[in-house]
């Protein structure tokens, strides 16, 4: 029995030093990794060495990732604790993002700010028009507006009449700014959709939802630019119990031992409607949030849009469609140059992220 005890208390140390077992048990989510430290007399006596070493050991001993998952599993099973930042649990294990929820309720809504943003968007529309560039505003849905029925009752009671989305939607329509309102479109699709458009364990739309959204986007880009953009149709659907891509983005970051998703999710195979060479490839500048990643993960935008296209994530990081180009901060991008020959600028944000609009995209109005 002593041998058993010694094995259990020694195994984390041995595993850390010698890596005896498979180390593919990684932790998901965005978190800061603590670095190891070097011992000096100064940091020993001021205790910084000890503090940093303790932090480092706490994150790096053997089987630590398994233990984190074990703890999270216990705490979720017994206490419904999630161990993910900015996320809360609704009914039937539906998970919601708090930032999205705050925007959905209208708590973040400030009319003065919304008016100034609306003004910026109309100015952007005008300034792009002058450069012969189109603007398309896309409002991706948020899970809260798609599945309000699974929000906890206490949360649901706090929803106000006006939020950024309802306000901008009305104003942009009146102002004639091209708008692709996925939020209302998805709600219309919800009763008849053959497969889940949102799922329990993710804040983003499903891969299937992203295909639907992309199909609509390509047709709208073709309409706005007047170019023959290659579109596609869904040829086949594979149903799976295991979530892929971003379809379990929250549950993945919850780092549990088992998955909580109970729905069958759809993974389409597509067929292009035209020969790609016979179509035009518009140069697009997309400024958006993580909802566009769902579209990008299908690899279709990279094929049907020009290689010169950029996805500017929150207008902070530039992601080129051309694999030979390197991405980087938007400040390092020559926007004047990039805007030349651009056919369309797309503002692509979830209705749960509209509190931060225009996310710096107003800089485009100031370009010569």
């Amino acid at each position: 029995m002593l041998v058993l005890v010694m094995i259990v208390i020694f195994i984390p140390l041995l595993e850390q030093k010698f890596g005896i077992f498979d180390r593919t048990d990684i932790l998901y989510g965005s978190y800061e990794i603590k670095k190891d430290t070097v011992l000096t007399p100064e940091n020993w006596f001021n205790r910084r060495y000890q503090q940093k070493k303790e932090d480092f050991v706490n994150e790096n001993f053997g089987f630590r990732n398994f233990l984190v998952k074990l703890n999270n599993e216990i705490e979720f099973s017994f206490y419904k604790d999630l161990h993910v930042n900015d996320v809360f649990l609704g009914k039937n294990n539906y998970l919601y993002g708090n930032t999205f929820y705050q925007n959905y309720t209208g708590r973040t809504f400030k009319q003065k700010y919304a008016d100034s943003v609306f003004k910026t968007i109309t100015q952007l529309n005008e300034s792009l028009k002058a450069k012969n560039v189109k603007l398309l505003v896309c409002f991706a849905p948020c899970k809260e507006s798609f599945y309000p029925e699974f929000l906890p009752d206490t949360n649901l009671a706090q929803v106000k009449d006006v939020n950024f989305y309802t306000y901008y939607q009305k104003k942009l329509k009146v102002a004639g700014v091209p708008l692709l309102d996925y939020d209302s479109y998805f709600r219309k699709l919800k009763p008849t959709a053959e497969h889940p458009l949102f799922t329990q364990g993710a804040v983003h739309w499903t891969t299937y939802g992203a295909y639907i959204a992309l199909d609509t986007l390509l047709r709208r880009v073709a309409f706005e630019t007047g170019k023959k953009v290659n579109t596609f149709h869904i040829k086949d659907i594979e149903l799976s119990d295991t979530a892929r891509l971003g379809d379990d983005d929250i549950t993945k970051a919850m780092n549990l031992l088992r998955r909580v998703n109970t729905e069958k999710l759809a993974y389409p195979t597509i067929e292009y409607e035209h020969n790609n060479d016979s179509c035009e490839k518009p140069k697009v500048m997309i400024i958006g949030d993580s909802f566009f990643y769902g579209l990008n993960n299908t690899w279709i935008p990279g094929k049907v849009f020009s290689k010169e296209t950029y996805f500017l994530y929150y207008f902070k990081t530039a992601n080129p469609f051309d694999p030979s180009k390197k991405g980087g901060p938007v400040e390092e991008l020559d926007l004047n140059e990039e805007l030349k020959n651009t056919d369309i600028v797309i503002l692509f944000f979830s209705t749960g992220h509209l509190d931060g609009l225009p996310y710096g995209a107003d800089k485009l109005t100031k370009l010569k």
Partner: protein
């Protein structure tokens, strides 16, 4: 280095335990001393020199005292050693408090305040000072001869399992174990020690830490913003938190001691089943109670004083000092005063009534203790008093109280384990699990497996506590 930290559980404990186990008996004590110095230096890299210096001085003072034949000289050396230790404790623990209060008074009279740079309180000083005092006093009283080996004395003071938070071990209780423990040191002792350690770790990590979050919430808020039931829930949360925290730590210390061959005295004996405050102090922090009795209460005259008034005064004084030992704050003094008040009341008449009752006495004592903890927990007397007043402000009473499942589990577990011995066979089961070192194979295996599970789940909780990633990084 805390026992409930990854670095202790993953690095320090296994390495030290293994090396200690394989080393020959002759080398075990010196290795344990070096490990203890490393353990303490990790948390207090400068203060270790102060401890090493004062223990050296103390060792030689006591040697001289022991060798001295003249009673006067003996007494002088005793006073010198006591002053050295009490002076050290006073400087590091109480100077800030006294100067702060003197400055407060001076400012009332528009006088110049004393300039003072706050002294940092070294970890474990209250425990180690009290043990140093038992050494010199026990030798002075001829209860035990001093240790002949300087390193053994240092080991007694610095022994890492009990250095930070006790139990406070009297020299006479451990002196013979310094070299004599190897005769009874065996695998079963290590196993039982590990199990006791794991149970203590679970009490601290899985119960006390959960209750800490719960209690902190209520104690952080203004009492005026709480309902009566909120105030009681906060107070009860803290009542169980402090018990499972402290008794868990003591279990870990006792368990570690066993793993290295030592038998430390018990520190807790189901205190929340006490039928009076007098009994509570025989069950709560027993080693402090024993220290106070042997080195303060009895020298003051004990129960053999001439008048009842003097007896009450002595009792009260001991409890005020006991409160002050816990921390240099008025709230601790008030807490000591409060317990002293109940003890005096029990001596006067209350004990007769309480001894007759069973459940009523347990509940009554528990409520008295719970109210006491409110003073212990708050930073200021004013806030504590307002909190207690709100506990009894029934105009504000409402059953509208909800809490999350974690707190329900933590409360359920803490209530169950706190009063477990009151259940039929409760005491027998407890004694068998904790104090029977010769269990047969199957129960022993079950005990080890359960302890290992508690160890693993606790380690998982420790390493995952602050791990709350974002789904994705938003700029």
């Amino acid at each position: 280095m805390l026992f409930s930290s990854s670095i202790f559980l993953v690095y320090f404990l296994p390495v030290v335990l293994l090396l200690y186990f394989v080393l020959p008996h002759k080398a075990k004590n010196i290795f344990l001393l070096l490990s203890s110095i490393a353990f303490y230096s990790w948390g207090a890299p400068l203060f270790i020199f102060v401890i090493l210096f004062t223990t050296t001085l103390d060792y030689f003072l006591v040697q001289f005292m022991w060798q001295s034949r003249a009673q006067k000289r003996k007494k002088l050396l005793l006073i010198l050693s006591v002053m050295l230790n009490v002076g050290l404790l006073f400087y590091f623990k109480y100077c800030n408090f006294f100067i702060e209060n003197i400055n407060h008074l001076l400012s009332k009279f528009d006088a110049n305040e004393i300039h003072w740079v706050n002294v940092i309180l070294p970890i474990g000083i209250s425990f180690y000072t009290f043990e140093s005092l038992t050494y010199v006093i026990d030798v002075y009283r001829n209860e035990h001869k001093p240790l002949n080996n300087f390193f053994q004395y240092q080991l007694y003071i610095l022994l890492f399992p009990k250095l930070i938070a006790g139990p406070i071990i009297r020299f006479s209780e451990i002196a013979d174990q310094m070299t004599g423990r190897f005769a009874t040191y065996n695998v079963d002792m290590i196993l039982n020690g590990f199990c006791r350690f794991a149970i203590g770790l679970g009490k601290k990590v899985l119960i006390a830490n959960a209750l800490a979050k719960f209690a902190n919430f209520y104690f952080y808020l203004s009492p005026e913003s709480l309902t009566t039931i909120d105030c009681w829930m906060g107070a009860l949360g803290y009542t169980f938190q402090i018990y499972f925290d402290f008794s868990g730590y003591s279990d870990m210390a006792i368990g570690l001691g066993k793993m290295f061959g030592f038998n430390f005295p018990e520190n807790f004996n189901n205190p929340y089943t006490s039928k009076s405050i007098t009994e509570f102090w025989r069950r709560w922090h027993m080693t402090l109670g024993s220290w106070m009795k042997n080195y303060l209460y009895i020298p003051l005259g004990g129960n053999k004083v001439k008048s009842q008034l003097r007896l009450y005064f002595n009792l009260w004084l001991v409890f005020i000092l006991s409160g002050f030992w816990h921390g240099a704050e008025w709230t601790f003094i008030i807490w000591g005063l409060y317990h002293g008040f109940w003890l005096v009341l029990e001596r006067m008449f209350l004990l007769k009534f309480l001894e007759k009752g069973k459940i009523f006495s347990v509940v009554f004592t528990f409520i008295v203790v719970t109210i006491g903890w409110v003073f212990f927990r708050h930073e200021t007397f004013d806030k504590a008093l307002r909190y207690v007043i709100h506990m009894f402000d029934f105009s504000n009473f409402s059953f509208d109280f909800s809490t999350d499942t974690r707190n329900v589990y933590a409360f359920g577990a803490s209530i169950f384990f706190s009063v477990f011995i009151l259940l039929p066979f409760g005491k027998k089961i407890q004694d068998y699990v904790f104090f029977n070192d010769n269990k047969s194979n199957v129960p022993q295996l079950a005990f080890v497996v359960v302890s290992l599970l508690i160890f693993v789940v606790s380690l998982a909780s420790i390493t995952a506590t602050d791990f709350n990633p974002f789904i994705y990084f938003r700029f």
